[in-house]
């Protein structure tokens, strides 16, 4: 995987239109051989994100806040704060981190489906489009997806 450098600036992401183009160019160059999926392809269903929203509200929001912007000990999960941590890293890495460390007072306590629903919710809130199939962790598929800036942040 290659990290894709999208310039972000304090106060506003300015790459909303450029990012998908750069992303596509980059993925064509680096991931096409593996038939890697792209976040712009619509990797989750809206219904799945809606389920994730409910789980998020119940389990995650008390630390990361209802608006996903985080708090002192809990990083933001949307916008430039999220991208600063996760841009260029794999969706599978994020999923593994969620499963193995969250929620911090009871790591791994949700079902696989609930973690995938939460991931779908995070993708939706970060402006990545929904699609026709549910996000699933089939054959390590998530490992091949690189997180990059999207519109709608």
């Amino acid at each position: 995987m290659m990290a894709i450098n999208i310039p972000v600036h304090r106060g506003r992401i300015k790459s909303a239109r450029i990012a998908p183009i750069l992303f596509c160019l980059a993925t064509l160059g680096t991931l096409a051989a593996a038939n890697a999926a792209s976040l712009s392809d619509g990797l989750y269903r809206a219904e799945q994100a809606a389920r994730g929203a409910e789980t998020y509200r119940a389990v995650c929001s008390s630390c990361h806040a209802l608006d996903l912007r985080g708090n002192s000990n809990s990083p933001g999960l949307r916008g430039i704060g999220f991208l600063f941590i996760w841009e260029g890293r794999g969706l599978g890495e994020l999923y593994t981190k969620m499963r193995s460390t969250m929620p911090t007072d009871n790591p791994g306590s949700l079902t696989e489906r609930e973690y995938l629903d939460l991931l779908a919710f995070l993708l939706e809130r970060n402006g990545y489009p929904a699609g026709n199939t549910e996000l699933a962790n089939v054959s390590g598929e998530l490992e091949t997806v690189v997180i990059s800036a999207a519109g709608g942040n």
Binding site: V8, H9, R10, G11, R12, R57, A58, S61, S62, C63, A65, L66, D67, R69, G70, N71, S72, N73, P75, G76, G79, I80, G81, F82, F84, I85, T101, T104, D105, N106, P107, S109
Partner: protein, 584 residues
Amino acid sequence: MHRLSCLSLALLTPLTLAQTGPLTPVTDAMLAAPPPESWLNWRGGQDSWGYSDLDQINTGNVHQLRLAWSWSFDDTGAGEAAPLVHDGVMFLPGPRGVIQALDAAAGDLLWEYRPGITPALPGSDATPLGPDQLGDAVLPATAWAGVGRGVQKNIAIYGDKIFAATENASVLAVDSQTGLLAWETPVTDPALGYNYVAGPIIADGVIVTGINGCDRYKEGACYITGHDPDSGEELWRTSTIAQPGEPGDDTWDDLPPAFRAGGDSWISGSYDPATGLVYMGTAQAKPWARVVRGADGDALYTNSTLALDPHSGEIVWYYQHLPGETHDMDEVFESVLIDVDGRQSLFKMGKLGILWQLDRATGEFINGADIGYQTIVEFDPVTGSVRYRDGMIPRIGQQLDMCPSTSGFKSWRAMSYSPQTQALYIPITLNCELATFGPVEFELGGGGAGPVRRENYPHPDAGDNLGELLVLGVPDGEVRWRYRSRAPVNTAALATAGGLIFAGDWDRRMFAFDAGNGEILWQTRVNTSAQGFPISYMVDGRQYIALPTGVGGASWSTMLPRDLAPELRRPAGGNAIHVFALPE
């Protein structure tokens, strides 16, 4: 329903309730000089020594210590309990605002207060917050923004009431005999992220509480309030952030007030009847890094010790430990009040591991000692001035190699002071971090601490050990002894007149150390991480040691062991109190 429960308990355990009997009203004099049998302030005395005058359990017999009783409390959030004991009753603060009263000798439940469920006192005009307002406290599934993990570290007792500060940004009082709500005063809007995690203290008849959750950009700063214990009326409100037109305004460069964040109070303070002053710590400015918050100034009154008049809220003096702090090196922690050669002093330590001695009448710097583990600042022990080492001021996107990590060497695990040894017993955690600070959204609702790409690594001086109980002599800070362990030392320390120090670690062990030389004289292993504030008390001539365990517990508990001691595991649940005594 609640009264029925109490009645049932009374029928089942009449001796227990007869033993506890009517509670003596707690006076200012009792808070200032607590009876040795009791534990009336969150750290024992108002001086926050974390010290018990009891010596029935001592270096000669502590090896016989055994469990008297234990009690699990709610696992709905992090357990960092600092219990109180008065007249044979233990008052236990749990997550999500729950307070339970237990027979401190037998371990029986006497009453419990549950937000939104427990009714008000008969004849009281208290108006409990409704379910819509209570949010997370009544049902975790309706968490509000910024309420944290429901932490309720400590509570206060005064007169015939127990006082608490809630995750929903209210201050309340319950009847100490029944647990029924006496009053509840909303202080501010929790939907803006405001919350309390540290409880009130009582200072000359005034409830003093500092608020938390001030990291986001919003209209309204962080502050400390004084409340009337009888009515809940707010008596004063003092901002911990310098405002336009006030002294210190220029320390925030040109930032508008809504973008001056931080200065939270997530640790309770101390009170000195001799000076008549309350001592409160404030947290660092937010966002953590100067370059991210857009101001290089000192950012008053963040990362300071404030001396407040409890009747007016006036800041009589302040001492800013790290002006313009820029790495999340918090100095908010407990103020330990010790007279040294007749000089009224205040000792404290922040995340960097610098022991500060201030004059608590004037705020003047007296002495300081860097324990020598940090790599961020140059500290002058003569003047107390701090200067960032070359290249150590963060820039966005540039990785820094720093010790400690943003978790700090010191955290909420409070130190204790033994007048017998004239030493401070300080739980610390040894760790370092490769840290890369990132930007925030510069708009109302944005801000926050700021993102950090973080990679923890072990401290080079500590081998495989994360935990340390560091013992420093007063006043010069010379190292008397240190105990190190693979797991973080994860409780506050408790010192007793029996020549003992009690503490526990993340790996479920609880210890009694010889205060003089650090020899382990007793240990046991419990259900989950030792976590919280150990206390000691006496009922009917028998001394008890109460050691809390807990889940959650912030980064010392949830991140550092996971990253740096992955072979250690703890159960997912286990908030509890474990009470030990000598055989009868």
